[in-house]
C-alpha cells in the first residue's frame, strides 16, 4: 500500500486494514483452474441455482493477472503441476489458493504414479475442501472461510511473503 512503510503499524494502518480487508473479501475474483470432475461442480456453482455472484465472485477470470484466488478444481498430475505453478506465479499479490476436492487436497482416490498427492506440495494452500467432488455448497463454505481469512489479514501480511520453492 505504500502507507505502511511511512507510518508503520499505526492507527491509520489498522483502520485501513479493516477497510481493505472488507473490500478485498467482497470482490475476490477467482481463477478457475478447472482440471477435471471438480471443474463441472465449479461450473455448477456459477449456475442460476447456486449463483456464486452472491459472494461477489462471479467474475471468473481465466487470466491469472486479473484474478485473486485460484480455485484448483481437480486432479493435478505431475505433467500438469508445472503449469499450475506457473499460472500461480503469474498472479498478482495478494493471492489465495483453494484446493477444491479430494484430489487437489491429497491426491484423493488416485494413489497412482502420475498424480501429485496434494497440491500443497508445490503451492501455498489457504483452504482445503473435502468431497469428491464437493457440492457447490461446500465450495461456498470454502469461499466463506477464505473471506474470513482475507478480512482478518493485514495489508502488511502480503508485503514480504516468502513462497515455498517448487521442485
Amino acid at each position: 500500500m505504500g502507507l505502511e512503510s511511512a507510518l508503520g503499524e499505526g492507527y491509520l494502518t489498522t483502520r485501513l486494514d479493516a477497510l481493505v480487508g472488507w473490500a478485498r473479501k467482497n470482490s475476490l475474483w477467482p481463477m478457475p483452474m478447472g482440471l477435471s470432475c471438480c471443474a463441472i461442480e465449479l461450473m455448477s456453482a456459477g449456475d442460476p441455482r447456486h449463483d456464486i455472484s452472491r459472494y461477489g465472485m462471479e467474475v471468473m477470470r481465466f487470466s491469472p493477472r486479473q484474478s485473486d484466488v485460484m480455485i484448483v478444481a481437480g486432479t493435478v498430475t505431475y505433467k500438469m503441476a508445472h503449469v499450475v505453478r506457473k499460472i500461480y506465479d503469474q498472479m498478482a499479490e495478494p493471492r489465495w489458493v483453494i484446493a477444491m476436492g479430494a484430489c487437489a487436497s491429497s491426491g484423493g482416490m488416485f494413489r497412482s504414479y502420475s498424480v501429485v498427492q496434494g497440491i500443497d506440495q508445490f503451492l501455498p494452500v489457504d483452504v482445503f475442501t473435502a468431497g469428491c467432488p464437493p457440492r457447490p455448497e461446500n465450495l461456498f463454505n470454502a469461499l466463506i472461510e477464505l473471506q474470513k481469512k482475507v478480512e482478518k489479514s493485514s495489508v502488511l501480511d502480503y508485503r514480504d511473503r516468502k513462497e515455498p520453492i517448487i521442485v
Partner: protein, 434 residues
C-alpha cells in the same frame, strides 16, 4: 548477426543506465539509445514464415486440460496437433490393483459428465465376464438413468459449445436443466454427481415412486425448456456463421479415423450401438438413430439436440414398461448382499466378507463390451486370470479416439474456429487421458 540487431540486443540485455547523469543528458542518452534501436524484425523471406502457437493446457475453451500446438500462417491454421496426458491418472493400472467392485467408483470419474453411463458400461463388461445378467427391473432402471445421463452430458456439450462461440445465456439455461437431473440422481442414487450406482448383478438400490415421479416431472417440462434454448440458436445468424462449413469431415474419413457417437452420425453414418448391438433393454425400445449429412460443426450440434429428444422418448418408454421385481440377481457368490441381511444372517456375512476382501472370482478369459455413451463407443476390455481383480483392463474411450480427428478438422480454418470445432467434438479429458 548484423550491426543493428546487435545494438538491439545490447539495449535489452543491458538497459541504458542514466540515473547518475543530469536530467537533460539523461533524456538525450535515452533518446539516442532508442533511436539506435532497430525496430524491424527481419526474416530471410518475410513471406515464408509460420508462427507456432501453443493453446492450452490451461485455456477456457479446451474443455479441461487439452493442449493444442498450432502452426499458423497469419490466422489460418496450417497444422494442429493435440497433446494429451495432462490428466492421465493411470486408471488402467489402478484397475489391476482393485477388485471389480472397487473400480466402480473410478469409472465415475472417467467421463465426468455422465457418471451413471460409465458405471453401467463397466458393469456390463464385468457381468459379461461373469456370465451373469441383472434382473429386468435393474436393466430398465439402468437404461433410464443412462439416458438421463446422456441428456445431462449433451446439455453441457452444447451449452459449452454455444458459450465458446459467444452465446453465454444458453449455458446457464443448460445448467439449470442439469441441476434438475442432478436432483433426480440425488433422490434415486443418493449422490448428485458421482453416482457409483451400478453393482455387479444389479443396481445399488431400487428406484422409489418418489424418484419416478421426479423423473416424470422433469420430462414433462424438459422439451419446452429445450425448445426455448433451441430458439436462441437455431435462427441465430452469428451461431450459424461460426459453425456452418467449419470442421467438415466426410463419412469415409470419419470411419477411417475411428470417430464414433454423435460425431460420426453428424457425418451421415447411421451407426449406433444401441441399435446395432443392443445391450440393456434397448432392443425393446422404439427410437430413431439421428444422422445429419453435412459433417460440420453445425451438423454435430443438431445431432446432439435431436438425441436429447430421443432420450426423453426412451426414458418415457422405460417408465411405462418398468417391470416389478428384484433389482439384484440371485447369485450369492457374486452379488453383494444387502446390508440389513449381512447383520442378521451368517451366509450373507460370509459372502460379504469374501466379496469385499477377495472380490468376485470370475473365470479366466477375456471380454470386451462396448456401449454407446454420449461421446461415442465406450468399451471395456477385461483380461481375467480368475482372480478378484482384473489382470488387465483396457478402456476404449471415445473422447480419445474422437480427438484424433482434430488435426484434420482444424486444417485450413481460422484460429477462432477451433472453439466451434472443439465444442462440437465435445471431448472430456478425464476420459481421453484416462
Amino acid at each position: 548477426m548484423s550491426e543493428q540487431s546487435k545494438i538491439t540486443q545490447d539495449f535489452f540485455e543491458s538497459p541504458v543506465v542514466t540515473s547518475n547523469l543530469p536530467p537533460k543528458e539523461q533524456r538525450t542518452k535515452l533518446l539516442q539509445a532508442l533511436l539506435d534501436m532497430d525496430p524491424d524484425i527481419s526474416f530471410d523471406d518475410p513471406l515464408e514464415n509460420d508462427m507456432v502457437l501453443n493453446m492450452g493446457p490451461s485455456h477456457p475453451a479446451t474443455h479441461g486440460v487439452l493442449r493444442i500446438l498450432l502452426r499458423l500462417d497469419g490466422e489460418t491454421i496450417v497444422s494442429a496437433m493435440p497433446e494429451l496426458g495432462y490428466l492421465h491418472r493411470g486408471y488402467e493400472k489402478i484397475a489391476e490393483n482393485e477388485t471389480y467392485h472397487e473400480f466402480i467408483t473410478h469409472t465415475d470419474r472417467l467421463d465426468y459428465l455422465q457418471p451413471v453411463h460409465n458405471n453401467v458400461a463397466y458393469i456390463l463388461a464385468v457381468e459379461k465376464l461373469l456370465g451373469l445378467e441383472a434382473p429386468p427391473r435393474a436393466q430398465y432402471i439402468r437404461t433410464m438413468l443412462s439416458e438421463l445421463a446422456r441428456i445431462s452430458s449433451h446439455l453441457v456439450g452444447f451449452g459449452v459449445m454455444a458459450m465458446d462461440v459467444g452465446a453465454m445465456t444458453l449455458l446457464l439455461w443448460c445448467f439449470r436443466e442439469r441441476e434438475k437431473i442432478h436432483d433426480i440422481f440425488d433422490l434415486v442414487v443418493g449422490a448428485r454427481f458421482t453416482t457409483s450406482y451400478a453393482r455387479i448383478g444389479g443396481v445399488a438400490q431400487d428406484i422409489t415412486d418418489e424418484g419416478l415421479a421426479a423423473i416424470k416431472a422433469f420430462l414433462d417440462q424438459f422439451l419446452a425448456r429445450l425448445d426455448e434454448g433451441e430458439r436462441l440458436l437455431n435462427r441465430n445468424r452469428i451461431f450459424f456463421d461460426r459453425c456452418r462449413h467449419v470442421g467438415v469431415i466426410s463419412a469415409e474419413d470419419a470411419l477411417a479415423i475411428g470417430l464414433t457417437g454423435p460425431n460420426l452420425r453428424g457425418s451421415g453414418v447411421a451407426m449406433d450401438l444401441r441399435r446395432d448391438a443392443p445391450y440393456l433393454v434397448y432392443d425393446q425400445l422404439d427410437f430413431n438413430v439421428i444422422t445429419e449429412s453435412e459433417g460440420d460443426s453445425l451438423a454435430r450440434y443438431y445431432v446432439r439436440l435431436a438425441e436429447m429428444k430421443e432420450s426423453v422418448k426412451m426414458v418415457r418408454q422405460c417408465m411405462d414398461k418398468l417391470p416389478a421385481g428384484p433389482v439384484h440377481a440371485h447369485e450369492p457368490k457374486k452379488v453383494l448382499p444387502r446390508k440389513e441381511r449381512i447383520y442378521t444372517r451368517m451366509e450373507e456375512l460370509i459372502h460379504d466378507f469374501m466379496i469385499v476382501n477377495f472380490g468376485v472370482d470370475p473365470p479366466p478369459g477375456e471380454v470386451y463390451h462396448a456401449v454407446e455413451s454420449s461421446k461415442g463407443q465406450l468399451g471395456f476390455h477385461i483380461v481375467s486370470r480368475g482372480e478378484g481383480h482384473p489382470w488387465r483392463l483396457k478402456i476404449r474411450s471415445p473422447s480419445f479416439c474422437n480427438l484424433q480427428a482434430l488435426p484434420q478438422l482444424l486444417k485450413g480454418h481460422l484460429l477462432s474456429d477451433i472453439l466451434a470445432v472443439l465444442g462440437s467434438l465435445d471431448p472430456v479429458m478425464g476420459e481421453a487421458d484416462k
